[in-house]
């Protein structure tokens, strides 16, 4: 225990180790938060969900915190729902044909234009479908007719895709034309103020109900923005943390511990066991790890757990066996091993109780440095399109970003946020590992 405390106080003398520990702690907190706030099933269904789950999110919106920068006041998403706004609904004529008026106010104060404007309807009708006429009232008193049509029980009017509306707005797509100052020409500027989407509906039975929801999609959304399928990237960034940590940790534990045990066994038994282990290591050195993982991902399974097992298997006979072997060769000759042998300790006892604990301190820094390399390996596979089919990970976000040309189109946030988290993981563990290396390897200590 006192030795542990001494090591700890030694670590605190290295600023990089403290910084590394700090980053790792932050990641663990992030991972724990992700596990608690979004349960596994929910994370999976959210990430695989399509338009139904994410209908109220804009496509490719940048993170909302950009608005905190000085001089930036870009639109965020506004959802105006008649079910939430009781006063927006007014029954004009209840007899015979029911006349319903829904007025949805939009308070628009942003500098840019929204990404899209969609109007969703939800209703229950006994007979014929209701007929709606939709109009848009601007703050300066203009009234723009938007649509005249009948609506189904679940319906959506995508204003930007209506070419007649676009023509009526002077060849401006609805999300620009509806909010543009009149006469602002080729470089439209938004007109700030309170708009109203007025829906006059004719319902043919007294029991019929109709509700409307106006979604004005912002250019900015959420903590981390959204991707091409309207998904909130925050979900993947959060869930990427526990996945990355678990994968990196398990792979590092699995490969370092087995490698060390095998090196010890080889050295202890010597002769053909040692020779065999050496030969296997040489074969393993020329086995191309990533192509084999790719082969397995393509032909058999992309599950992260299968890949993890293969990674550990290929990592067992890694080049570090040679390093461990050199150390064990020295340990084997030391007097306390001799003593153990004379009192008749079994081979297993000598290997596990006397040899392995002796070199464990060397394992610690190696182990810490290995974790980020496995985290990046998982990201690498994901970037190749071989990520786990269900789990959201950082690498999968990067893959989506690069296959949708995020950098060409200027969606930098899409690449930068997962890359930032990967970098934090890499730096955190390797900064700590490098410092531990200097603490545990006395030869490096004074350098």
């Amino acid at each position: 225990m006192s030795q542990f405390r001494r090591r700890l106080s030694e670590i605190s003398r290295y600023p990089s180790a403290v910084a590394g520990l700090f980053l790792i702690f932050g990641l663990i907190v992030l991972a724990a938060y992700a596990l608690i706030s979004i349960p596994y099933d929910q994370a999976v269904s959210l990430w695989r969900g399509g338009e139904a789950v994410w209908a109220e999110n804009p496509r490719n919106a940048a993170p909302a915190w950009l608005n905190l920068l000085p001089g930036v006041h870009l639109p965020t998403t506004m959802v105006i729902d008649s079910r939430a706004l009781a006063e927006s609904k007014e029954i004009v004529d209840a007899g015979g044909i029911k006349e319903l008026r829904i007025a949805l106010p939009v308070e628009y104060t942003f500098d840019g234009f929204p990404k899209e404007v969609n109007l969703f309807f939800q209703g229950s009708f006994a007979g014929a479908e209701p007929y709606v006429s939709v109009a848009w009232l601007t703050p300066d008193g203009r009234e723009i007719p938007v649509a005249d049509r009948s609506v189904k029980a679940q319906d959506a009017i995508r204003l930007g895709q209506d070419s007649r509306l676009t023509r009526r707005l002077g060849n401006l797509s609805a999300e620009i034309g509806l909010f543009a100052q009149p006469g602002s020409g080729q470089q439209p500027v938004p007109l700030k103020g309170t708009y109203q989407m007025v829906i006059d509906a004719l319902l043919f039975e007294p029991t019929d109900e109709l509700d409307a929801k106006l979604v004005v999609y912002g250019q900015l959304h959420g903590l981390a923005g959204t991707d091409h399928r309207r998904r909130d990237i925050t979900v993947a960034l959060l869930w990427g943390a526990p996945v990355a940590l678990a994968f990196g940790f398990l792979a590092a534990v699995g490969s370092t511990v087995t490698t060390m045990v095998i090196a010890a066994v080889g050295v202890w038994f010597g002769r053909w066991v040692d020779a065999l282990i050496q030969r296997i290591t040489e074969v393993n050195l020329i086995l191309p790890v990533l192509p084999i993982l790719i082969m397995i991902g393509t032909l058999y399974s992309r599950s992260i757990w299968v890949i993890l097992n293969v990674v550990i298997l290929l990592g067992i006979f890694s080049g570090s066996i040679k390093t461990y072997r050199a150390i064990f060769l020295q340990v084997k000759e030391s007097p306390y091993i001799e003593a153990a042998r004379t009192y008749g300790a079994s081979s297993l006892r000598i290997i596990f109780r006397y040899m392995l604990p002796r070199v464990a301190p060397i394992l610690v820094p190696q182990f810490v440095v290995l974790i980020p390399s496995y985290v990046f390996l998982e990201a690498t596979l994901a970037v190749l399109g071989l990520g786990d089919p269900v789990l959201p990970t950082w690498g999968k976000v990067l893959e989506d970003a690069s296959s949708n040309g995020a950098l060409y189109q200027g969606h930098y946030y899409w690449v930068l946020s997962p890359a930032f988290l990967l970098m934090v993981t890499g730096l955190g563990f390797s900064m700590l590992g490098f410092a531990l290396d200097r603490i545990f390897n006395p030869r490096l200590r004074e350098l």
Binding site: L384, G426, L447
Partner: protein, 378 residues
């Protein structure tokens, strides 16, 4: 890494004899190493084939493709138009059995795996399912050979840059231990945790997307310049970012670890002795520090290269570099198993060749390295 016997005090005899001795020793060493590595490659490739065929999956795929082709052939042949569906099915079955026999698919896998091994070792890698080479061939070997020069160009450039820049900077830093630059490199060493493609993304972001100085990817501008000089310049321009990414991903760590080696070796007594004799610092560096550390450095460099070889797959995808990695990426997209297996075999060869060349280099520069044979023991 080499299975070698290292004994001290091997350097004897007159200088003239020493040169011819060196070559005899290196040649013998090379021969034995080549044999040992060939054995390693055979085992490695066989393992690759086993993994690729796990559960006979690839064979099932080949059989299915074969059946489909035969079914299509029978359907399109006007001679068979009058057959009843049952007869036609029987005909397809019979033809499929004949072709399976012709391709040896009816024999047990254990036997065929050795055929596959022989074919893979002689780079007879079969035909791709969907992909073709630029010249239109579907031979996996041709497809891969066409892509290899691009990969080799990128990697050779980056590796040579890393090696010489790192040795130079590491020696320089070991002399200025504790200076600002030294501490900066030590602080930057952990950044090497990220692979090359990761830096590639950032380099593209900065130099291609924001500054517009360099191209996003590819190997030459489209259409390729007809003039040879312009072509080379264009390739060079496209090479800067991917090679830069490789250098960025391992440069700081390499410099850091080699500088540490040099520092350890420069505290040896014989270095102090050389200093006391008043030798120039460049001579001390060359003869007393670099010479004894070179074998260690070459080994660590070999391990870096080996890990970089396979790391290139994503790098080439990120930069759209038309090399082997990009090929594998496209093969994944189309599930083109023969191409994936073939590329894996070629990668195994590349790794073995890398190990072999570095072993030879190792033997040339380290006079103590000898082949382990009874007669040589003194």
């Amino acid at each position: 890494m080499a299975q070698v016997e290292i004994t001290a005090n091997e350097v004897r005899g007159a200088p003239a004899r020493a040169v011819s001795d060196t070559w005899a020793r290196v040649l013998k060493f090379a021969g034995v190493r080549a044999l040992a590595l060939m054995a390693t490659v055979v085992v490695g490739v066989y393992l690759t084939i086993l993994i690729a065929n796990m559960g006979g999956y690839v064979d099932e795929m080949r059989k299915a493709v074969l059946r489909e082709q035969i079914a299509l052939m029978v359907q399109e042949n006007p001679e068979y138009r009058l057959l009843t569906p049952d007869d036609r099915r029987k005909l397809v079955d019979d033809l499929a059995a004949v072709h399976e026999q012709r391709l040896g698919l009816d024999r047990p896998f254990a036997l065929r795996s050795f055929d596959a091994l022989g074919q893979a070792l002689s780079l007879n890698l079969g035909r791709a399912l969907f992909m073709t080479s630029d010249s239109g061939s579907s031979q996996v070997r041709l497809i891969i050979l066409e892509r290899l020069p691009a990969t080799l160009l990128l990697f050779a450039t980056a590796q040579l840059l890393i090696f010489f820049a790192s040795v130079g900077l590491a020696l320089f830093l070991s002399r200025r231990y504790g200076s600002f630059l030294d501490r900066l490199i030590v602080a930057l060493a952990p950044t090497s945790a990220a692979p090359a493609w990761f830096y590639g993304v950032f380099l593209i972001l900065i130099f291609a997307a924001l500054l517009r100085w360099l191209p996003f990817g590819g190997m030459v501008t489209a259409p390729p310049p007809t003039d040879k000089v312009a072509y080379a310049l264009s390739v060079l321009q496209h090479l800067i970012l991917p090679a830069g990414a490789i250098v960025a991903s391992s440069f700081f760590y390499t410099v850091y670890s080699w500088r540490t080696f040099f520092l350890i070796y420069s505290s040896e007594d014989y270095v102090d002795m050389a200093k006391a004799k008043g030798l120039a610092s460049s001579a001390i560096e060359r003869r007393y520090i670099l010479r004894p550390t070179l074998p260690t450095i070459i080994t660590s460099f070999a391990l870096t290269i080996i890990s970089l070889w396979t790391g290139s797959i994503v790098l080439e995808r990120v930069f759209n570099w038309p090399g082997l990695g990009q090929l594998i990426y496209r093969a994944i997209g189309t599930s083109d198993a023969p191409v994936i297996v073939g590329s894996t075999v070629v990668y195994a060869y590349l790794l073995a060749i890398t190990v072999f060349l570095l072993d030879i280099l190792y033997a040339v520069i380290d006079p103590r390295v000898k082949v382990e044979t009874e007669g040589d023991r003194s």
